[in-house]
Amino acid sequence: MTEHAAAAARETPVLECRNLSISYAGRGGEVPAVVDFNLALMPGEAHGLVGESGCGKSTVALAVMRHLGRAGRVVGGRISFQGRDLLELSREEVRKIRGAEIAMIYQEPIASLNPSMTVGEQLMEVPMYHEGVGRRDAALRARMMLDRVRMADGERIMRSYPHQISGGQQQRIVIAMALLSNPKVLLLDEPTTALDVTVEAGIVDLIRDISAEFGTSMLYISHNLGLIRETCERVTVMYCGEAVETGTVSSVFGGARHPYTRGLFAAIPVPGADKNNRPLVSIPGQLPAPRERPAGCNFGPRCEFFAAGRCDAGPVEMRPIAAPSARASRCLRVGEIAWEAPAAASAAPPAAHLGGVVLKIRDLTKRYGQVTANDGVTFDARRGETVAIVGESGCGKSTLARILMGLTPASGGSIELADLELSRLPVTRRNLTTIRSLQMIFQNPFDTLNPSHTVGAQIGRVIRKLGVQRDEAAVQERVLELLDLVKLPRAFAARRPHQLSGGQKQRVGVARAFAGSPAVVVADEPVSALDVSVQAAVIELLVGIQRREGTTLLFISHDLSVVRYLSDRVVVMYLGQIMEQGGTQEVFAPPYHPYTEALLAAIPIADQHYVKRKVLLSGDIPSASSPPPGCRFSTRCAYRIAGTCDVLPPPIHEFAPNHRIACHLTRERLASMQPVFEEIAS
């Protein structure tokens, strides 16, 4: 290839979508899923596609793969791959391109792997099918690819079945399979959403290197702005099936030019912000249903800059913005809005007044046969305090919640709530006062409400059962009050859960937990399944109610950015043990426990004012049924002292009152740790 031709190839996009519109056939006619979508993916470029659920980002990827299914149909525009129109190709031609030239990686790695074949066989199939190479060569290439996706112990992995390896390893295998055919374009649909944060950090690091090493173009679909910032060069923000803003990552993250993008940034917690100094601002309202989209700008009804008569007049075109290259926004008023002005901050709620200790947990231990789910868990929670319990899967945080709620008895230790010992008292033997004072908010909004009963009936049942009110009229009155409390319309009492959105269901869950004015509420990942803009609103609500009622909140989460924002104290758990605990400021600043440091470094940061130090953990979380001896974190720790950490349980260093770190490193070594985030002076 001559230099000129090479330069031209760099100029022409590998994958291009022009005015792409896709509809799904529904019961009442066609529902538009993607409208007027444009994208140009250059060779070697990583392009992020970000938006909330239902915004059409996955539909775009499926259309590129020609995987829309029977209901979906491209109603306008074109998708071209290396100059060829993908929509015109025959099935046979598409099959040749799919997998070989365009590969896709899905959210659930286990669903992409065949459970009855060894990993090696599946990897070898790729070159054998696409290039017709022999078994021996295929095995060699598969083995080499495993090294390139940084899989240690490749020989053993090749012989394993998918269920014998961890989720992070599975995703690496899927990526290796995609890369084996050396595709031009890689579509990644939320590839790390199902993984733990420290595992995610490793995969993200790998993905970032792929385009550099293999020259593959990537379309990275995610709801997480931080991940997009860390992996991509360009970004397109989608809302209600339309691209609303596009540009380079640095320009878009440096200053949004569409009210929706701006709203998204205001709704996510950033380092250095907490509920007292910079409360989250949620986007008002909720996503319109596909059939109920407003006239004109889709974001109009939720927009603070809405101008009646203009924004709702007719379809809004994507318009280029003068300054940086190839930047565009679907906002009529893009030239009129003072974008640099700080977003209207909602008033900070009055600071919490912390009272005396309400809940005292001492040496709590829980064993299920071989598995030690909790081991010597000790901490206190004070009145009005938010205590976050942080950790990845298998750390025992959910078991802790189950013991607290009396759903399973502890094997040892004690829980004291208002001088009552609860660790071995099942919920069926607890008295009404105890049950009332300890309630729970659940994780999955789609599971938290019983689909068969109305919202009003479910809240009413709690009120009657907990003995808050007995009289029927008073119960109904209290149901309506609680709906007011969680800012839901009173008419929702008559609705069934399937008529509510995820955020609304979670609000009902909050109302149910607070029905009996509890002293302690355990919230198990209450916002992790919600969209960003809704998440902020639910957090805001939770903090507001908690402050007013002086409730103690045990906030169980894996999301450190939310934890930092919300909590007063943090308890970091790993494989059933507490690694570090202390005030939020203390835990999020050095000295760190090595695990806390890795967790912090794994948070994807969307704010360009911060730089992050890279801390990558090796390997995966060991199984809880055979935890490592000595310090449980020793197998993955970068600071491991051989002969000490893997033999002896770590001593506990107390840095500040109640800031404790369990680690073999010396006090001086811990104290000399550098902060993970640094603010760039702008």
Binding site: M405, F442, N450
Partner: protein
Amino acid sequence: MKALLKHRVAVLIALIWLPLAGYVMFRPALGAFGSYLLLPAVPAVILLYVTALRRWRESSVAIVGVTLVCFWLLMAVAAPYLPLPDPNKPIAPFVPPGGIRHGVLFLLGSDMRGRDVLSRDLWGCQRVLVWGVTATSVAYLVGGACGLIGGYLGGWWDEIVSFAGNVLLSFPVMVLFILVLNLLGQSGFNIIIAVTCSSAPVIMRIVRGLALDAKSRDYIQAAQTRGEHPLWIMLVEMLPNVRAPIIVDACLRLGYTTVAITTLTFLGLGLQPPDPDWGLMIKEAATAAMLWKYSYMLIVPALSVSSLILGFNLIADGLREMSLRD
């Protein structure tokens, strides 16, 4: 009143079922009053049919099924009021369909003892429907309760119900039927017991699986954390959510039970002559129908059984189709 309208289908089914079952099971005890018992059930069947048509209009399969079943239901409740000869009275033997003897029109002919085939067929429908549906319901009551207990409570409860179920399932169905009916004697009520013994373990397994799935849901945990009684959790929190697949299975199972009951009477077990019954009719006609001329005696009850079972199966298919759609 509002509650009655809300549970319209349940009310209608009760309005049809209670008199029909009472009429078939306790006719001798009812005396003269018995003949008026079924009158309100006739409009109830029609209302039920209209309701079903309105609710299931999106599934043509279900519509065909419900039409077949409602036709037989209507025949069952209307049989006493139709201008038909007594099903047990011998009038004239071997009359071909459409023939008139002694001033009586034999629309579908008469059998070898001179009884009207049409009349016997319609009256027989009554018995098959009543015993079939009652037996299935009792099997569901037992199997459903065991399934909920085994699935939700787990532990020893689960061991006990699962073991009992496996023991019953290890018998071939026919052996189980013959065993029960020979041990307890031959009657409609013992057919219920026999059908329960064979169906309840299967139902138990289905419900247990559904309950195991429902048990892990957050709303069940929410109910547990507010200290609800296990009975409340099983009946109010779980049962309504496992309803849909159970109803589909129940429709299929109604078909199986109908087959089982007809087979039993064909073998001379269970329901006793002289009252008509499809299985009995097939048995009695078996010899005569070897001559093509008399095959109508066999074809009429055989078609009746098939159409009723087809109706149940089509409803099940339609329900499944509709539940998959949304």
